[in-house]
Assembly symmetry: C2
Homo-oligomer: 299 residues x 2
C-alpha cells in the first residue's frame, strides 16, 4: 500500500499543513527480511507569524518502540536542511542501532531555506568575505540581518510545534554549517537557553567585519556559568593572501573559549585540513555527535 | 502520485523479479523547491543458479541527466547491504553534487545477506576469533566456506545483470566490512580482474588461523603487475590479551604490500583508534571514496 495524505492542523493561531510520506511496506516487496529502508520524513508546512511566511520543515522520528511506547527522544535541529538533513538522519539511525549504540535514537528536524542570507546572518551588512562592500542594488547580501527574527521563529513557533507533536525530551541540539554556523553561535551568545548543545561547522566569522567574534569576546566571560556544549570546526578553505580566513577566525574564537575557562562550557574544536568547506560536514557532524554523546547522562 | 509495481523479467535462464519504489513527486507535497528527497532504490530479486536461491539486491542509480541522457556511471558493490548501503548511497549523492564534486555520480549496489557466514568466508573452518574450535553441532561457523561460490555469483550473475540493466561504466568498486572485508581481499587475491578497486574495512584476518594472510603472502609478489586500488583500515577492536588482533593483522597485511612494492597496486591503510568495529565504517567509506577518486582519470 502506498499512501499519502495532507491535512490541516490548527496550532495556536497558525495553520499548519502536515504532509506524510508513508513508504511501501516491506511485506509487499519481498518475502524475506530485512530490506533496505530509506530514511522517511514528515514534511510539514508551518505558517509562521514571526516570519510572515510558510516554512517547510522535515522531521525524522525513530520507529515506534513497541516495548516502550512512551519513550521520548532528544531533538537535533539542523539548518540548511536541504544539504544535511538526510545525512544526519542516516548517521543517527545507524549510530543508535543496538549493535553500534554510541548515540541515542533522536528526532531530527531539518529546516530548509527560503531566504538564506536574510535568516542566517545576525546583522545587516553588504560587505563580502574579502572585506569589500557591494553597494549595487543587486548586492547578494541586501536582505541580510534577519538572524535574530529567525531565532525567534525557531524558539517561539518551531520548537513548541515539535514538542507538541513529537515525543521529545528536553535536550536539544542546534547545528549549522557556514552561515548556519554563525547562526548557532549567535544563538549560544544571545539566547543560550534555547538549546543544550551547539554545533558550528566552519562558521562564517568573517561576516560583518567579525561582528560575532567581537560579540563572543563581550558575552563569554568567566564570571558567568554556561552549562552548554559547543563543537566547532574548520577545513582547508577560504584562502586569502595565503591565509585561511576561516581557520584564523576559529583559532581566535577557540582562544576566547579556552583562555577564559568559561565555567560549565563543554567545548571541542576540530580542524580538518584535508577537507574542503563542503566535504567537512561529512566528518564534523559525526565527530560532533560523538563529542556530545560521550556524556552518558545525555543518552 | 504514488506508484509501485512488480514485474518479472527473464534474464538468461533466470527469472528476475524487479520491484520499483517511486516516491511521491515533490510537486504534490509543496509549492516551493527544493524538498527533502530520501535515497530511493530499486529492489530486485535475482534467481541465482550458482547459489541455488533467490537473492535480493538494492540498487541506487543517480537521477537521469537530461543534458546527457547517455551518461554512464561507475558502480560500487557493497557487502552487508543492510548495514551500509543507504549510508554509502547518501555519501555518493552528496559528494557528487556540483558544489561538492569530489566523487563522480555512481550506481550503488547493496547485497544483503541470506547466510552471511556461508557467503563471506573463503574457507570452511569452525575456529572462532580466539582460536578455539567449536565442534558442537550448533557451531555458528558450520556453514562457512562458501566465499568462492559467492564471488562466482557476483561475477557471473549479478554484475552481468547490473551491466545489462543500468548505465554502467567499466570501473567497479567492491567494498566490505569485517567478514565482508575478507571477501573483498579474497577477491583481489584470487580474481583480481573482477573489480578496479577494493575496500576492506577491518577485514577479519583471524579467519581460519590467518588463512588470507598466508594467501596474500603467496599471491602478492613484486614480479607481477596488479593495476588495482585497495583501501584497508582498522579500529580499536578485538582486544585479546591486551593486543588488538585486527590491528596486528592489518599491520602484517600492510607490511606485505608496502615491502614488496607490488607494481601498479595503489594502496592506502588507515587506522581509526577512536572508533569501534561498528562505528569505523562511517569514516572509512568516506576516506576510501576520497582515496579512490583523488585520481581524476576515474571521475
Amino acid at each position: 500500500m502506498n499512501y499519502s495524505s495532507c491535512l490541516k492542523r490548527h496550532f495556536g493561531n497558525s495553520i499548519v499543513y502536515v504532509f506524510f510520506i508513508l513508504l511501501i511496506p516491506n511485506s509487499l516487496l519481498a518475502q524475506t527480511d530485512p530490506v533496505f529502508k530509506p530514511i522517511s520524513a514528515d514534511i510539514i508546512q508551518l505558517s509562521s507569524k514571526v516570519l510572515g511566511e510558510y516554512r517547510k520543515v522535515y522531521i525524522y522520528a525513530p520507529p515506534a518502540d513497541t516495548l516502550m511506547p512512551d519513550k521520548r527522544y532528544p531533538v537535533m535541529y539542523i539548518l540548511d536542511g536541504d544539504n544535511h538533513f538526510s545525512l544526519v538522519a542516516e548517521y543517527c539511525r545507524y549510530l543508535s542501532r543496538s549493535d553500534v549504540n554510541v548515540v541515542p535514537e533522536m528526532i531530527i528536524v531539518g529546516i530548509p531555506n527560503t531566504n538564506r542570507v536574510r535568516d542566517l546572518t545576525p546583522t545587516h551588512s553588504i560587505t563580502d568575505n574579502d572585506g569589500n562592500p557591494d553597494t549595487t542594488s543587486n548586492s547578494r547580501y541586501k536582505s541580510s540581518g534577519g538572524g535574530n527574527i529567525f531565532l525567534q521563529f525557531i524558539g517561539t513557533e518551531l520548537i513548541p510545534y515539535i514538542d507538541a507533536h513529537y515525543k521529545t525530551k528536553p535536550f536539544k541540539i542546534f547545528a549549522g554549517h557556514s552561515f548556519g554556523g554563525i547562526t548557532t553561535i549567535n544563538c549560544l551568545l544571545t539566547r543560550p537557553d534555547m538549546f543544550g548543545a551547539y554545533i558550528a561547522i566552519s562558521p562564517s566569522f568573517w561576516w560583518d567585519k567579525g561582528y560575532l567574534l567581537s560579540l563572543a569576546a563581550e558575552k563569554l566571560k568567566n564570571d558567568r556559568v554556561i552549562n552548554k556544549m559547543i563543537f566547532y570546526s574548520d577545513a582547508y578553505e577560504g584562502l586569502s593572501d595565503g591565509q585561511s580566513t576561516f581557520h584564523n577566525d576559529l583559532v581566535k574564537f577557540d582562544a576566547i573559549i579556552t583562555q577564559r575557562k568559561i565555567p560549565g562550557l563543554d567545548h571541542k574544536y576540530v580542524s580538518y585540513p584535508e577537507d574542503t568547506h563542503m566535504t567537512e560536514p561529512i566528518k564534523a557532524y559525526y565527530d560532533a555527535l560523538r563529542f556530545i554523546f560521550r556524556r552518558s547522562d545525555l543518552r
